[in-house]
């Protein structure tokens, strides 16, 4: 074997190795691609063939005013979509008497025939609501048939519909992210009083609000003028609700708090935050599954605690 052919073999082996590694890298690439929308584009909602999921399709908004846009969108929604596995739930010959806006409420008046089959009414409504919700300026929709308030599948009157109340997801509940404003209590600079803060929090639909709140406290404040009240390492063992009492079991780390923070501040940041935002009236704290009589030195926590407003900083009240 000559040296040349040996070298050539080595080079070929190297190239093969590189190709294989590249293939491995490609396997890691995320193939998911989300549709990008322009400002004037929205997604129209259709049902899939097996009627157990929604299918969307891009649509370019037409018209100047919101009323025109709505009317055109509804007409487009009634046509068969181009996608193969999708179908419309609306009557193709839908007749819209009028669309009128007052403030952020859109009133749609259909001629007879808005509701096709009774069973499809809900699906049709969801498709309309989800499609219209993307048009800027509309927050509520009211449906009318021949000037009368429309009725749902059960014959109940469809009152004003808040568009955001309709959630449609293809994924699990975990993927639905909710936005809520909550009141949270963190410590002040001296650590002897609580400061109330309004915070917009995001949490998955699958999470309990109590858990989201306690996690918020454990994660600590985002602003600089308030201070952490609970040890960062604290782990939530369990949260139970019974007869308006919230039973919360935390890990031992809850007992190890900064010296600057008074016992009351540590415990009541938790109690106040939970009571303020939840249906519970009192909070019972246990550590590692056991009842503690005294939090550290003096604060009794052997029974459910009520909200304590005295500890909130006077300026904040």
């Amino acid at each position: 074997m000559t040296k040349n052919s040996l070298n050539r073999k080595k080079i070929i082996a190297l190239i093969v190795l590189i190709i294989m590694l590249t293939i491995l890298l490609f396997a890691c690439k995320d193939t998911k691609q989300t549709e990008k929308l322009n400002d004037s584009e929205i997604l129209l909602y259709y049902l899939n063939d097996s009627e157990d999921d929604f299918v969307t399709e891009k649509y370019e908004l037409q018209g100047e005013t919101i009323e025109e846009k709505t009317r055109n969108t509804l007409l487009a929604l009634a046509k068969e979509p181009t996608k193969n596995n999708a179908k419309t739930v609306l009557d193709p010959n839908i007749l819209i008497s009028s669309t009128t806006m007052s403030q952020d409420i859109l009133k749609i008046d259909f001629y007879t025939g808005y509701v096709l089959d009774m069973a499809d009414e809900l699906m049709a409504r969801v498709c309309i609501v989800k499609s219209l919700a993307q048009i800027e300026g509309i927050s509520y929709v009211e449906f009318y048939v021949n000037g009368q308030t429309a009725r749902d599948y059960y014959g109940k009157m469809l009152n004003t519909i808040y568009l955001n109340n309709y959630t449609v997801a293809s994924d699990s509940m975990e993927k639905i992210i909710r936005n809520t404003e909550v009141n949270v209590f963190f410590a002040n600079a001296t650590g002897d009083k609580l400061l109330q803060q309004k915070i917009q929090i995001e949490y998955p639909l699958s999470m309990r609000i109590e858990e989201a709140l306690v996690r918020l406290l454990i994660d600590g404040p985002l602003t600089e003028d308030t201070y952490r009240t609970i040890n960062k390492k604290t782990v939530i063992n369990s949260i139970n609700l019974k007869n308006s009492i919230c039973y919360i079991d935390l890990s031992e780390d809850f007992l190890n708090m900064d010296k600057d923070i008074t016992e009351e501040v540590a415990v009541y940041s938790l109690v106040n935050t939970l009571v303020e935002n939840n249906s519970c009236n009192r909070v019972m704290i246990t550590i590692e599954g056991k009842q503690h009589n005294i939090y550290k030195d003096k604060l009794v926590i052997s029974e459910p605690l009520k909200r304590n407003l005295d500890i909130i900083d006077a300026i904040n009240k």
Binding site: M173, E174, S206, M207, I209, L241
Partner: protein, 480 residues
């Protein structure tokens, strides 16, 4: 190779965590089923008469949760047990109960919800999700109709964190492990390749003519074996080469000696003038005897070469060995008489054998001739023949000068002579025993020598009665 157990360990970890998850689901599913059955007992749908309405029978799941406090308590119980969020959704896809009180009255639709509304329990545990979601349909007792669903969403946190930890560890360990493995395999590859390269270099050297080259490789298993085998092979080749060179030099020497004598004799005749005719005759007689010697050597060499040829097939015939022996001994009697050596022939039974008569005669007469030539005056040579069903046994003994111990291994070598001067005197070529041995071996026989100096020499020969190839065929036939 070290990669395999490592991967196995990793999958082991994953398997354990996977299983942990499974038991968690089973528990949660059981809870969800129990609770939904409890709730269902409160829903008596649609067909209720006005009287029954009075008796607190509800039309929809919405009403159940609106008016029946126990239903909500049951759900809260479920949420507590599973440490998760519970949503109850009516068949109008409205949230009628939520333990976080945030979704009430909202519409919620998803693939899973719609599926569950058709009456199928769904357990959603996507690989990348942190929550286990169980969708359980609530059925109406009277007509098996689905009136709503309970969604239980429970945090699989401990398992997920556990898994995440493992993944983190794996991610951290993997590159290091791969690098270490690469280093180790590189080291081994180089170490394995090294001896091969040395082997190749040595082989090339040998090809170039350095036949003495020895490969020295230690402690590498198979490579070492190859090296040893290779060394043995080169040693053998070397031996053959040496004996070939020796043979060539011997041959030329042996062939040259008579010619030198002839030349000297002829020269001396030419240089002197007035030489008497008697002297001419005498010298010419000497020249003739030298030519005879040369002729004998060449004949011996030729017969040896013939015996050496691999493809040389024996010309096998069935021969009466007794008769053959008598002929050989008869032919040799004049030589024996010259030295007054007595030849004793002993035959125990009539022997017929399948042999090549020519070659066999050559072998035996060489041995008997040697026994006569290297004997003392008035000595004896004894030839005995015996046989059993398979072999014939020939023994040729004499009371001659014998062979010294140090020479006994070399007597079959070509041109080897124990005593060179004496041997030339007796007219030997140094090829006789080599020819004998080759001939006997060709007959698949064996030859042994036993000798004591100044006492005598015994040659024992054993030759099969039947030619082996023929024998094999016969045995084959017999077996069939």
């Amino acid at each position: 190779m070290a990669l395999v157990p490592m991967l196995l360990t990793m999958w082991g970890f994953l398997f354990v965590s996977e299983n942990y998850n499974d038991t968690q689901w089973v528990k949660d599913i059981t809870i969800a089923n129990d609770i939904s059955v409890d709730v269902l007992s409160n829903v008596k749908y649609a067909q209720a008469t006005p009287n029954q309405i009075v008796e607190q029978v509800y039309f929809s799941i919405e009403e159940v949760f609106k008016y029946d406090v126990t239903a909500g308590a049951e759900m809260q119980n479920l949420a507590n047990k599973a440490q998760g969020r519970v949503l109850v959704i009516s068949e109008a896809y409205t949230v009628v109960w939520d333990n976080s009180n945030l979704e009430n009255g909202k519409y919620l639709m998803s693939n899973n919800i719609i599926e569950a509304m058709k009456g199928k329990q769904i357990i959603d545990t996507s690989k990348d999700s942190r929550y286990i979601e169980i969708y359980t349909p609530i059925r109406d007792t009277t007509n098996e109709r689905v009136v709503g669903i309970v969604i239980l969403m429970t945090d699989s946190n401990p398992t997920v964190e556990y898994k995440e930890n493992i993944y983190k560890h794996i991610l951290a360990i993997m590159p290091i492990a791969i690098v270490i493995l690469l280093l180790i395999s590189c080291y081994y590859a180089i170490n394995i390749y090294k001896p091969y390269r040395r082997l190749i270099t040595s082989m090339k050297n040998i090809t170039d003519g350095n036949i003495n080259e020895k490969i020295e490789i230690d402690g590498h298993g198979e490579i070492e074996d190859i090296a040893t085998a290779f060394n043995e092979m080169t040693a053998r080749i070397e031996e053959t080469e040496i004996s070939r060179q020796e043979f060539v030099s011997n041959v030329s020497h042996e062939l040259k000696t008579p010619i030198t004598s002839i030349k000297i004799l002829a020269d001396s005749l030419l240089q002197q003038e007035g030489i008497p005719v008697e002297t001419y005759k005498e010298f010419l007689a000497d020249i003739v005897s030298e030519i005879d010697r040369e002729d004998k050597i060449i004949n011996d060499l030729l017969s040896l070469v013939k015996l050496d040829k691999k493809n040389n097939s024996l010309n096998i015939t069935s021969v009466n060995i007794d008769t053959l022996f008598e002929q050989i001994l008869h032919r040799l009697t004049p030589i024996a008489n010259k030295r007054n050596v007595e030849i004793i022939y002993e035959s125990f039974k009539e022997v017929m054998a399948e042999i090549d008569e020519m070659k066999f005669t050559l072998a035996i007469s060489n041995l008997v001739e040697n026994a006569i030539k290297y004997n003392r005056e008035n000595g004896w040579v004894k030839v005995s023949l015996n046989s059993d069903h398979k072999y014939m046994y020939i023994k040729i003994s004499d009371c001659g000068i014998g062979i010294p111990k140090e020479s006994i291994d070399k007597i079959y070598n070509r041109f080897y002579r124990v005593d060179k001067a004496r041997s030339r005197e007796t007219g030997g070529t140094g090829l006789g025993l080599a020819i004998t041995r080759n001939a006997i071996l060709m007959h698949k026989g064996s030859i042994k020598v036993h000798s004591e100096e100044n006492v005598g020499t015994d040659f024992s020969i054993r030759v099969p009665l039947y030619n082996v190839q023929k024998e094999e065929i016969e045995e084959g036939d017999f077996n069939d």
